[in-house]
């Protein structure tokens, strides 16, 4: 069991999550674009989905979301659901292309981030929070999605490393090589 933990992705996901959480709560609170805080953890969850599929994206999103809720004091599980959705959406979109180009991966990451950020007020509404839908929700979603897309060339390889995945290598089929 210990060996499977050490060899599994969690041993990399959790420290990376702590590091990203610290960055999210320090520098990214300051580096606001038009008054919007960039959601690097949400983008990372979406990038994990793009790199490793919806299942792995969901796992990474869940872990990051629980960490975020614990540190931020938000209702435990609320951001976890949103980040899980981000990972799943990123993974589902990545099904369109087997080995997407960097710009396609950027679009998928951006859309996954947008889905996650947009679902946060929806979840808050479900738990009875008054007026969670802000007037500027569209601006927040657009800016965080754009930031996720811009960061994706960095985040997708990081997610691959984190999930112990290698970039797909396309080889010629054995039969064709012989002919």
């Amino acid at each position: 069991m210990f060996a499977s933990f050490v060899q599994g992705p969690l041993v990399r996901v959790i420290p990376l999550g702590i590091l990203l959480l610290a960055l999210q709560r320090t520098i990214f609170v300051e580096l606001q674009v038009n008054g919007v805080i960039l959601q690097v953890m949400m983008a990372m969850a979406a990038a994990a989905g793009v790199a490793g599929g919806s299942e792995r994206g969901a796992v990474v999103g869940f872990i990051f979301g629980v960490m975020f809720d614990l540190a931020e004091g938000t209702p435990l599980g609320s951001t976890a659901i949103a980040m899980t959705i981000a990972g799943v959406v990123g993974g589902l979109l990545a099904l369109i292309a087997a080995d997407p180009h960097w710009w396609l991966a950027a679009i998928f990451t951006g859309l996954g981030t947008a889905a996650g950020v947009a679902s946060v007020p929806l979840i808050r509404a479900f738990i009875g929070e008054p007026e969670p839908f802000q007037q500027r929700l569209a601006v927040v979603v657009a800016i965080t999605a754009a930031a996720g897309a811009i960061l994706s060339p960095l985040l997708v390889p990081l997610a691959r490393w984190c999930l112990r995945m290698k970039k797909a290598e396309w080889t010629q089929p054995v039969g064709e090589a012989a002919t």
Binding site: L19, I27, S54, F62, T74, L76, T144
Partner: protein, 394 residues
């Protein structure tokens, strides 16, 4: 290849259900969840401190590039504001002391008797929904959930979560924040007490309006130079008493400035030197000042102040406008109302009414409130160690 299988879906559903379970546990109040949260916060503290130190230069560079112009403009505006505040500080302090004495005299509740705890803001919410800050004092300093938090400008929020050494403060702008407030008529900028002369100009305005030139032709012995002062054009001096009506006064009766230099007052239109009668009249004009008192502060209405989220002004609802008593209008002052169940004592300044929106029917008006405190730049804050009167009585 089965890319999207039942097994994969099962994992996703399991994670979503686990999240829902955690959410339920947390919302119902679970001691284990609170302990885990406290422990995780402790683990994160050193990591965040280290990250903060490492990323500080990047933050500064970013702010230098993005916010430099804004900062410069804001600096100028703040300097102007500081100059104005220095002028009114003395009278404001006197008013506060007077108010506290009156409240003590009539056994009225006042803020002066309530203990406070100074704390520093150490973090802001990292999401775009919550308006929450973290302060570096907690349970060990006597802080508990519900206590109001203020800074020098006024109310900023209330404590919503407390650990041993930290606390989270929900800001007034958070959409979950509500507090009872009272609206009082404000002393407008133009209503502040000013000394005016019968001409309607203040002594300072008369002095500013006067143009000063140096003349080399009337220098007495030993003096560096004499000053010729031209009277302001707006000064309503009857024409019959202006120069030419009587002879020039003797030289020893002419006014001199602080440096001892000779001062010669001249008519702004003709440039002729003023005679003794005109000077006497001028002295009378400048010295006979009257003070205009501000209007009496009137409590107009009580309502509920509600936050509306980031970058939006909080609003006051549940108001009934009664024009026969007082009209709610822009510039009115907003303070906490206090009361038996209220989490904040009465009299904490909140802000001023910035806009008024009338609603059809019996809904009453909505008032936007410009907060006194700048919530984007919080540093040192003060937690008012206040418990609602209902809890104190128990």
């Amino acid at each position: 290849m089965a890319i999207y299988t039942v097994g994969r879906r099962r994992v996703i559903f399991a994670l979503l259900l686990t999240s829902a379970l955690l959410l339920t546990l947390d919302l119902r109040g679970n001691a284990a969840v609170d302990r885990v949260r406290d422990g995780f916060t402790r683990v994160m503290e050193p990591v965040e401190s280290a990250t903060g130190v490492i990323t500080n230069p990047i933050e500064r560079a970013w702010n230098g590039v993005i916010n430099y112009d804004d900062l410069e403009l804001e600096n100028q505006a703040l300097q102007d504001q500081l100059d104005r505040l220095i002028g009114t500080q003395a009278s404001a302090e006197a008013s506060v002391i007077e108010s506290q004495e009156l409240q003590a005299l009539y056994n009225l509740p006042s803020l002066s008797g309530i203990e406070t705890e100074v704390a520093q803001v150490v973090g802001y919410a990292a999401n775009n929904l919550d308006q929450v800050v973290e302060i570096n004092k907690g349970r060990r300093s006597g802080i508990s959930v519900g206590m109001p938090v203020v800074n020098q400008a006024g109310l900023i929020g209330k404590v919503t979560k407390v650990t041993d050494n930290t606390a989270r403060v929900m800001l007034v702008t958070d959409s979950r924040y509500t507090i009872g407030v009272k609206i009082t008529s404000a002393v407008r900028d133009g209503d502040t007490p000013v000394d005016t002369t019968p001409s309607g100009l203040t002594p300072d305005e008369i002095e500013d309006a006067a143009t000063t030139t140096t003349s080399s032709t009337t220098v007495p012995d030993g003096d560096p130079g004499s000053t010729t002062t031209t009277l302001p054009t707006g000064l309503p001096i009857p024409e019959s008493t202006l120069p030419g009506a009587s002879p020039l006064p003797p030289i020893d009766e002419l006014p001199s400035d602080e440096s001892g230099a000779l001062v010669i007052l001249t008519d702004p239109e003709t440039g002729e030197v003023l005679d003794a009668a005109a000077l006497d009249e001028l002295r009378e004009l400048v010295s006979s000042t009257t003070t205009t008192l501000p209007e009496v502060v009137v409590e107009k209405e009580f309502g509920a102040l509600e936050g509306r989220g980031r970058l939006l002004l909080p609003q006051i609802r549940f108001l009934q406008d009664n024009p026969s008593l007082a009209v709610l209008q822009e510039g009115d002052l907003v303070e906490t109302a206090g009361g038996l169940e209220s989490l904040a004592p009465t009299g904490i300044p909140v802000g001023r009414v910035a806009n008024r929106a009338d609603r059809p029917g019996s809904g009453g008006p909505l008032l936007d409130v410009e907060l006194n405190a700048d919530l984007a730049r919080l540093n040192f804050v003060r937690v008012v160690l206040y418990k609602p009167l209902s809890e104190v009585e128990q």
